[in-house]
Symmetry: C2
Subunit: 191 residues, 2 copies
Amino acid sequence: MTPGEEHAHVIEVADRLFYERGIQAVGMAELRREVDLPLKKLYALFPSKQAIVFAVLDRRHRIWTAGIQERIDAAADPRQKLLAVYDYLSDWFAEDSFRGCAFINAFGELGSQSPDIAERTRTHKESFQRVLAELVAEAGGNPALAPQLALLAEGAQTTAAISGSAEPARQARQAAEILIDAQIQAAPGLA
Amino acid sequence: MTPGEEHAHVIEVADRLFYERGIQAVGMAELRREVDLPLKKLYALFPSKQAIVFAVLDRRHRIWTAGIQERIDAAADPRQKLLAVYDYLSDWFAEDSFRGCAFINAFGELGSQSPDIAERTRTHKESFQRVLAELVAEAGGNPALAPQLALLAEGAQTTAAISGSAEPARQARQAAEILIDAQIQAAPGLA
DNA sequence: AACTATAGGGAACGATCATTCTCAAAGCAA
DNA sequence: TTGCTTTGAGAATGATCGTTCCCTATAGTT
């Protein structure tokens, strides 16, 4: 295993543990055990637990952004692209390991203690808002639509996490259809 | 101060501390200092920190439920009652102390460790869903509307907490108006 | 006034945390 | 083989946590 692979492996394992049980609930000793590296090597790869947390969040952001963009790219027209967001959520919520948005969880757990985590959470959510805003603009919709659609997505994430059901994704999608159709002129060629 | 007043005072102070900084970040020694009671008396009033956490959440639930019901009761017709929910959120978000939904925060911090906290969070959110469902039923609306409106409210809470803005309440309200008008027949006497 | 029960105040306990240190084993150059 | 550097594995450190315990001082009763 090259140092680069070890680095990536630590981040993957830490992500799983932090996401399953919370950041504070996972100690460095346990992480060390799960990655099967000496504590010394762990601290050679990362200067602190906080650095691992940041790396985990950054990776989550990249995976989320890429995954949602993939779904958007696969959709045919602007309306379908917007709705594809909720299909992505639906698949995500159905995963056994789903336990809510890692950023919201981290923010609730440590946001008030760590300005860095709060800022990363803000950045992550703003980036999602920007994606929606661009899609709404491409669709020629009311700019107010984008934050509305974001609220549905955020609400679906917390509600799915708390209820343990994937249903909120479908509810959000239905609501999104209504909001879209009310605030976007019919797509060209579909009237 | 009677024992009952002490009891209530501890819960109020603990609520403020837990909400501001997170549950795990507040130690019993600090709580003791803030309530100005000997540790011994604290443990005479509550058997454990966990018991204080539960009491805090239960009080939050009662206050939230009463506050939102008050707004609903003050509204004229079913449509206005549904929208009153978002006005309540707007006022809440504008408070300096606002830091998101205490249940969502507690769930993110300890939900995976403590089934009791997870269950209280579920119960709290289900009760909100029931309130909306009844209002939608009274308004003769599509039953699917209630969970949609709940998603907007939940999304607004997390988005307001993360962004530090009260704007999400207004965005949620506007979206709610569209969803309501699309899924409820016009109120009698207003056509 | 003397004895008893209670309550205050905080030290002590045992556990756990992130981080650092020790030290022996192993790899490697000569 | 000998000496040197790097590594593995986990014990030590110092801090903090929730909870319990001890001791003193006070209040109440006769």
